[in-house]
Amino acid sequence: MTPSVQTRLDRVWRRVVFRWRRTQLNRELAEEIESHRLLKEAENSRAGLSPQAARELSNRQMGNIEMAKEDCRDMWSFLRVERLVHDLRFAARLFGRNPGFTVIAVLSLAIGIGGNAAMFTLVDKLLVRPLPYFEPDRLVRVTGIYPRAAVPFFQQQSRTMDVAAVSAGSEYNLTGQGEAVRIFGAAASANLFSVLGAPVAQGRAFEPGEDSPGRDSVIIISDALWKNKFGCDPSILGRVITVNGMNRQIVGIMPPGFGFPSSKVEAWLPLRLDPSNFIEYWGSGWVPFVSRIRLGANVQQAQAEIRALVAQFKRTFPYPMARDWNANATAIPLQEDLMGDIRGTLLILFSSVGMVLLIACTNVASLLLSRATTRRKEIALRVALGAGRLRIVRQLLTESVLLALIGGGLGILLGMSALSIFKSVLPSSTPGLAAAAIDWRVAGTIAALALLTGLAFGIAPALSASQIDLAGSIRTGSQRSITSAWTRLRSCLITAEVALTVVLVVSAGLLMRSLYTLSEVRLGFRPEQILTVRISPNQSSCTERAACIALYGRILDSARGIAGVDEAAIANTLPLDAEQPYLAVEIEGHPKSADYPAPLLWSGAVSPGYVRMMGIPLLAGREFTEADGSKSAGVLLITPSTARIFWPGENPIGKHIKRAGEAQWRTVVGVVGDVRQYSLAKGRPDWVPGAMYMPYVQSAREDGQIYAAMTLLVKGRADSGRLGHEIRSLAEEQDPNVPVSQVQPLEDVVSGSISDFRSTIRVFLSFAGAAILLAAIGIYGLVSYWVTQRTFEIGVRVAMGATRQRIVSIVLAQGLRVAVYGAGAGIVAALAVTRFLGSLLYGVTATDPVTFVAVTALVLAVTVTATAFPAWRAARIDPVTWLRVD
């Protein structure tokens, strides 16, 4: 009869109670038995014995009651648990006696396990766990971006999908709620939330038709915006707020954690579908699509349909489209699309951290192996005293599992901090990233991992120790009788460890070289001493060009008036900033056709003096001057790379470019140096063949309006804190309804653009550092153990006349042999593996020989260092002492 769970629990509970009240229960047991004896004694007295005889008889009748008492106590205690506790106590005492060993072992494991805990959390949260939407496996991304006109077309024509559109998002002004702020909003078709299958937390989603003009004055806000900006006000639904100068009613609040297409998005506005607004409907404001595969359809059908629909839609364009426009559009699973960029980085980190754990385990295993051998005598003694082989193995395994569990516990703590480091490596807009935390599932997995590693690295040493030649070990007490198989195993472990280390250090080395190359990149401008502040009036306030020209004229004048400011300028964008402006242009001598649609140029709008202030070299012609006014003839500056593409071998000065659809040509008056606008690592994307600058007062966006949001740049030698404060307040004084960003030194913008990369490198460096340290410990342990084993042999050699140099070189050879094999294997592995780093590398190839040679040299140098101490010890072996021992 198997007892029910409850009975089992009851029994355990009673035992637990017993442990607490052990002394009391012992006393009660004694009293119980004594009262039994007294009853017997009384019976004996009644039978007519003298009191003395009655007592003696009762004592005899009770028999050996101590045994019974012992049995009773056992009845109440957890025998197996007690034995375990005993083992644990013994292990803890041993660890306490060997603090060096313990610290190294626990730390290695904590590093390995902690890193894995963090990485496991991320991989689980970001790659494995499905998106938090209804039936997420039916959600797909339609690749490419499409004009708004395509939204109703796809929605009506598609038979396999429900199509929604949502922009990547941009900043909007939120005014009329205290200080004007910038919020990050995404424009979405009315059906976005139903396509995603994401219900609102409060209020309602967009209603069908709310993306048509006149009905679109609604907005849905994120939980974060509701909490931070509106203080969780429950009456917020129905309130009207002003976004980019337009009144919108808040109709819904999304649940916490919802962020689509990225977690940056704080608000969703209807994507206005207005066929009468030709430029917006066909030209600007292109959007990506996200779709839900309908029931009964599959991805393959959707992909075929997309190709057909794209071809069909291309014919409806009111202007010629490139022949291959979106020709390879297809549908990919949404999760793959959202995590596409980080998948590689994540998997690389995951495998490296796995390698660190492997190294840590190898190391601890090898440490335990050597310890098991030095404990040979102790174990032999215990076997001689009657300990079973199983008991010895269990004792040793208890030790290793205890080590692993301590390491695991520390590892989880370490994992929490590691997680925040890893998070900083990934783009913060990754959906779900902020919510990734070590939860009980991960903790459980880690506990299992720790147990498993404990068993894994404990089993070999335990088995090796239990195969003991009893008589031999005790009699001689020497450590010469070793099973060479275990020693070979240990050398193999360390070789593998060195190989893994080489892979990690090579990766870190390649990344370091990339960072160095990046820091040497010629920016094309000088960011020193320049402070920037973003001023973002509503675009609607610039319908009158003169209003904005006057506004920025005033701002520039007052900025130049601040003490300590040498120069001031405005620009519509900063180099290496997130948002880049483009214009579709017509170029003199390059007529548009279906094969050569209007090229997109990067287009800056800057005030006179910007080029000089930024230190961008003027290569030909002239800069803008105050004479290039809003009424005078249009002028442009272009970069040499642009000139080479459109007018190779010709003088570009005097050539003409105009915005697509514009009447008047603008004249190129100067050539200024190319600037890294997009990123340090890459130049312009290939769909942007050139770059040009317009004077701010003549500038135009694709809809012909002047730029409203601009960045003010000032250069000065004055204290940047005070200066920053002054330019910010000067901008704010212009209009309290205009949001003004924090002041940022341009140098911070530059270094910020590669901060993700820097932190990736930092993570890799710490991995590599941990690996190399662990490898050094491993080699040291191996060689010093070898020396201990061979003390006798070395003694004989010295006695036979071997010189110290000879002994040292023998020992060094031991370490080097392992290191050379390991490095060789590591180089082969690294050659195979580093190409996965491809996307992270800049300016070095994945098989960069310099890095490989340097790393090999480093590993060998570390080996020599780690071997030096045991070698020195070996050289000092005094043959007389050692030969006498046996």
Binding site: S35, A68, C72
Partner: protein
């Protein structure tokens, strides 16, 4: 006392204790006396096995103990059957009867 004593087969002590306690709560000495008495001195319980058995039964939750005053006005630990114990007694007694009937049948076969 010419009666021959029999060693208790494994596991029967528990059954006997439960049966004894089914009559009335009893302390250890009382249990051993009662078993001896009812079995006409055939079965004698050793203290060395009685107390471990009592504690085992208590641990299993079949009997529970409380302190009371014994015949000689001393504190003594009285054991009584719990509900689970009563059920266990029925099961075990049934099983025992079946077993002994079967054994008897085998022994008595012609």
């Amino acid at each position: 006392m010419a009666t021959e004593r029999i060693d208790l087969p494994q596991g029967t002590l528990d059954l006997l204790i439960l049966r004894t306690l089914a009559l009335a709560p009893q302390h250890g000495w009382g249990v051993s006396e009662r078993i001896q008495q009812i079995s006409s001195d055939v079965l004698q319980v050793q203290q060395g096995s009685l107390y471990p058995a009592l504690h085992r039964l208590e641990r299993r939750g079949w009997i529970k103990a409380r302190w009371g005053i014994s015949e000689n006005s001393r504190r003594a630990k009285y054991y009584e059957l719990t509900r689970a114990g009563r059920k266990q007694l029925e099961t075990e007694a049934g099983a025992w009867r079946k077993l002994s009937a079967a054994v008897a049948q085998v022994l008595d076969m012609a």
